[in-house]
Amino acid sequence: MDSIAHPTQRQFNPYSDNGGTILAIAGADFTVIAGDTRQSEGYSIQTRYAPKVFPLTDRAVLAVNGFAADGNMFVKKVKQRLEWYRHAHSKDMPLRAIARLIQTMLYARRFFPFYVYNILGGIEEDGTGAVYSFDPVGSYEREACRAAGAAQSLVQPFLDNQIYFNNQQPAPGTSHPVHLPLPTILSIVIDSFTGATERHIEVGDGLEMYVVLAKGRGVQGLEDVRGVQELSVTEEGERIFVIRRDLKKD
């Protein structure tokens, strides 16, 4: 029998990792924001349909990945701040302002962070497609494309090659395109997730791709897409569409 009393240590870990992967690519006048729908903890699948991509306004879509509870709470809080902005200013917050808002909201929790990687995609006020990516404490950057989450290491180098044309030499007398057309980008997104599903156990089940089109752009590139569904109610401003796909199950 131990006669000396030992101090007992207790610990509570408030975080978890729920897997999954998100990805966004900006075009000249559109942006694609995508994420898989599997939610897991360790080797257990909690659900095969838990969205990680959320439309915020008619021109902004937010993808959140990491700890799902923090992610859902964070989206809720961002949506609340955007609603207050609408009541105060009678318009939607511009994309770059949403990006800065997210940075302040994340940094406000610098010492008890939301354990989430955010990717914000949409249309800028000048009509260009834009992607903003964040780390959990609010460091952010505008980019042309970004992958995050469990399969980031699988997808990002593929995107470097297919979007930025890294390590590719243009044919003599030509140059690489700065922006790719919508159907090409949709194919790259589907290929990225198919590859990630094949090799990563935390990625799979469903794929949700949100497409944000600039004002007056028209729907070129979406006509022949199977099962595309429009979320915006008016054709006046920017328009949001969602495309859903099953990810391979073998």
């Binding site: 399969a151 290491s153 699988l154 997808v155 990002q156 180098p157 593929f158 470097d160 090659n161 297919q162 890294n166 390590n167 590719q168 290929d191 990225s192 198919t194 590859g195 990630a196 094949e198 090799r199």
Partner: protein
């Protein structure tokens, strides 16, 4: 700190139409400090058989010398070249002999194997550091950039590539994967093995 990641480096092998390719980066470092940009870790074993040895630098040399010796002895005793399948099992059993004090290497084998009819069939295989073999039909990867290599290869590879297209596919896969890995890169080397010759090329790469 893992011994498998101490020196850095990555290897990939792919199957094509009547050909195979194996490629590797050329970096050798001690953790974050780069030492050499010309460290070979892919070696020819016969005219149509190559082995890639990513992992701890000292074991790259030790195992290469060991396999060279054993392949030479096999060739002399059997009076014929070793088959890729046979060689893969030789590598595997060598590694398993050191089950509880392993060589820190995850080998990749690539070659053309001769069937009884005389036809040549592409063969690739990869192993973990204690010799568990993965006979893949498409591609195998190993080293510090393995997760990146899986991602890019899964997106770029397709069946029945001709030698020149296979060269482009494996080169693009390797270069883009190692550019996202701090422990791999600093140049690359690619070997495409076809039925009548081996095409070996050294690639320029980012030096950062």
């Amino acid at each position: 700190m893992s011994a498998l990641e101490y020196n850095g480096g990555s290897v990939i092998a792919m199957v094509g139409k009547d050909c195979v390719a194996i490629a590797s980066d050329l970096r050798l470092g001690t953790q974050a400090l780069g030492i050499s940009s010309n460290f070979q870790r892919v070696f020819p074993m016969t005219d149509r058989l190559y082995v890639g040895l990513p992992g701890l630098g000292t074991d790259v040399t030790t195992l290469y010398e060991r396999f060279r010796y054993r392949v030479n002895m096999y060739t002399i005793k059997e009076e014929r070249e070793i088959n890729p399948e046979t060689f893969a099992h030789m590598v595997s059993s060598t590694l398993y002999q050191h089950r509880f004090g392993p060589y820190f290497i995850e080998p990749v084998v690539a070659g053309l194997s001769k069937s009884p009819t005389g036809a040549l069939k592409p063969f690739i295989a990869a192993m973990d550091l204690i010799g568990c073999i993965n006979f893949a039909k498409d591609f195998v990867v190993a080293g510090t950039a393995s997760s990146k290599l899986y991602g890019v290869a899964e997106g770029l590879w397709e069946p029945d590539l001709e030698p020149e297209d296979l060269f482009e596919t494996i080169s693009q896969t390797l270069l883009n994967a190692v550019d996202r890995d701090a422990f791999s890169g600093w140049g690359a080397v690619v070997h495409v093995i076809t039925k009548d010759r081996v095409i070996s090329r050294t690639l320029k790469a980012r030096m950062d």
